[in-house]
Amino acid sequence: MSASPTIRTPGTLESALLTRRDAGHKLLIPYITAGLDDEWLLVLEALAGAGADAIEVGVPFSDPMIDGAVIQESSLRALERGTTPEGVLADLSRVDVGVPLVVMTYYNLIYRAGHARIAGAMHQSGVRGAIIPDLPLEEVGGWAAVADLEDVATVLLVAPSTPDERIGAICERSRGFVYAVGRMGVTGEQAVLADSAREVAGRIQAHTDLPVCVGIGVSTPDQAATVCEVADGVVVGSALVRRLLEGRGPDGAAEFVGSLRAAMDAG
């Protein structure tokens, strides 16, 4: 299936990212786990200040099956501090960091809250996108239809294992951007960028005009720049969250994200 020009109005997230991309910028989307510590909202502001184009906010789940050790640890810490989906959204509604926020979480939290209720709450708190990695194309319909009505873009993922026949259908249903899974594995820092990262981004781009951002296994400024030779942007999670777990705080986060930004802009 090639990119058939669907007549639909792009949502807030999509418009923001398209505007940036079409102006020649690469898209930088850092990830943090909500509720990790007392400073997490300050970290959000620091990330925006350091050049993030959108921010992925992880709502911690007890069984993060696509996450590796670092994000498992951050999820556990956040849960031990009493972090709940409702609390996270309430916190987010009190800040305005100036870039779109995208929630990343697992489907049970969405299902438990109820699609309409949580989509509405997301909208109210300024969230404009949602990444739900255990809700693949065949299962996403019910949620995505409700999220569309609330201007919450349901970002779908394409993996290196996804055959070309599926990519078109996934891109068609994806909103905001298409999340290219950079390697076959769980989230976690990698010393070497997998070949699959650029390869999958290229395959997706043949099917869509949506921005294509690569996440999972993009850990360093160099890797971000390399991926962006093909992709429109990157999502960087574990490398940032590890720094937060080490206590480097908003300043450390800003410094790291600034270095990603610089490498992507130079590339």
Partner: protein, 433 residues
């Protein structure tokens, strides 16, 4: 219990039935959003169709990276299950290597004591000591047919891990077993058994360090190795096609038992009882009776992990089913004396059977289970697995309360033998002396 009207003929090993023709994989397909309830009524415990739905339960909630593997597995299973050569080879291995058919034992002394007639389906007598072998031989053969050279598995009590390690040895495959750290301690001997069989056991230290976390870790490992590796899931849970496929591999228990009890009793047992963790031994024995008989079906969960009676619908490990969870949807930790039932969920078909009212879901606590464990040892000379002792514990309680009337015939699936539990039970009982 009378069979509901319109129940169709027993679906024993029939060719796979499609609920509706395959539709292109996109979520807006109208047929997709329909559940089995809105299409032609399927046989109870029949083919859940391409979407893997049992009523509203089941499905395939996995990361995109695993979707193609699940689709490939489903196609391979449909193909193999319809292939007489595959069925013959499976049957032959289960007979000549696994020790099938397992007998049904009429328990004279226990019957005298309880006042209800107890029959045991002796899965404890299969090679490796539990029903888990039925499933792993099936999946091992399928994995070989698919050209995979490595098996990974999760395990709780270690029985599924031992069975998988056994199948891997038999088929000359590599094997890695993920096991919660708590369970590696509770079931130390099984860890060593797996190692003797050539498997690598990886202790899982995340979360509650039990079965739930072992499943998470096995899924994580599968994402990274899906090209050459088959995930040999141990129960009727997980993403489609596992709940259906594992039930089909286990239905040999029920098909045998139905014929055996008919020969023995001249009729069907009044009640069929099995313990349920993920629910595979229960699904296997129920599959022989759900459609073909009007026997009451009872599944017994651990009271600290009673997903059907204390859980609510949710999504975990690739399936929509009944789960023990908090207000927000965080999964809670199950707690049971038996590692094999220490799981906060249950297979989706059980959630559906409960909703239909075709099976009943009960629970048994640790204390009653220890009693039942010892009772069977003393009255019949059989040490049951602690898991299986849950089914017995319910029978004991129901016979005492009069819920099971005197003279009722009760078929209990004795899913495994208790050798693995002897050290644990010794420590508990000695600790009290």
């Amino acid at each position: 219990m009378a069979p509901p009207p319109g129940r169709s003929a027993p679906n024993t090993f029939g060719a796979p039935r499609q609920l509706h023709p395959p539709c292109p994989p996109h979520s807006d397909c109208e047929l997709y959003t329909m559940t089995t309830e809105t299409t032609t009524p399927a046989a109870i415990m029949g083919d859940p169709g391409p979407t893997g739905r049992f009523g509203e339960f089941g499905g395939r909630y996995v990361p995109e990276a695993l979707v193609p593997a699940c689709i490939e597995l489903e196609a391979a299973f449909r193909d193999a299950w319809a292939d007489p050569a595959f069925r013959d080879e499976l049957d032959s291995i289960l007979r000549n290597y696994g020790g099938r058919p397992t007998p049904v034992t009429d328990c004279g002394r226990l019957t005298e004591q309880l006042g209800v007639r107890v029959l045991l389906k002796r899965e404890d007598l299969t090679h490796t000591g539990s029903h888990k072998l039925n499933n792993v031989i099936g999946q091992g053969l399928l994995a070989r047919r698919m050209g995979k050279r490595k098996l990974i598995a999760e395990t709780g009590a270690g029985q599924h891990g031992v069975a998988t390690a056994t199948a891997a040895a038999l088929f000359g495959m590599e094997c890695i077993v993920y096991m919660g750290e708590v369970d590696t301690q509770r079931q130390e001997l099984n860890v060593f058994r797996m190692e003797l069989l050539g498997a690598t056991v990886v202790p899982v230290t995340s979360g509650s360090r039990t079965l739930k976390d072992a499943v998470n870790e096995a899924l994580r490992a599968w994402v990274a190795s899906v090209d050459d590796t088959h995930y040999c899931l141990g129960s009727v849970m997980g993403p489609h096609p596992y709940p259906w496929m594992v039930r089909e591999f286990q239905r040999v228990i029920g098909d045998e038992a139905r014929e055996q009890t008919r020969a023995l009793l001249g009729t069907d047992p009044d009640v069929v009882v099995a313990c349920a963790g993920g629910g595979s031994n229960a699904a296997g024995i129920f599959a022989g009776f759900a459609d073909a008989t009007s026997s009451d079906l009872v599944a017994v969960e651990a009271s600290g992990g009673a997903a059907v009676t204390t859980g609510i619908p949710g999504v975990l490990h690739g399936m929509r089913s009944a789960l023990i969870q908090d207000e927000a949807g965080q999964i809670l930790e199950a707690e049971s004396i038996s590692a094999g039932l220490d799981y906060p969920g249950i297979g989706p078909e059980h959630a559906h059977l409960a909703e239909l009212g075709r099976a009943r879901y009960e629970s048994a606590g640790d204390e009653a289970v220890l009693e039942a464990f010892q009772l069977l040892a003393r009255t019949e000379g059989i040490l049951p697995a602690l898991e299986s002792a849950h089914a017995l514990a319910w029978v004991v309680a129901a016979a005492a309360s009069g819920e099971l009337e005197p003279g009722t015939t009760v078929l209990v699936n004795l899913s495994g033998r208790g050798d693995k539990d002897v050290a644990q039970v010794r420590d508990i009982l000695r600790g009290r002396a």
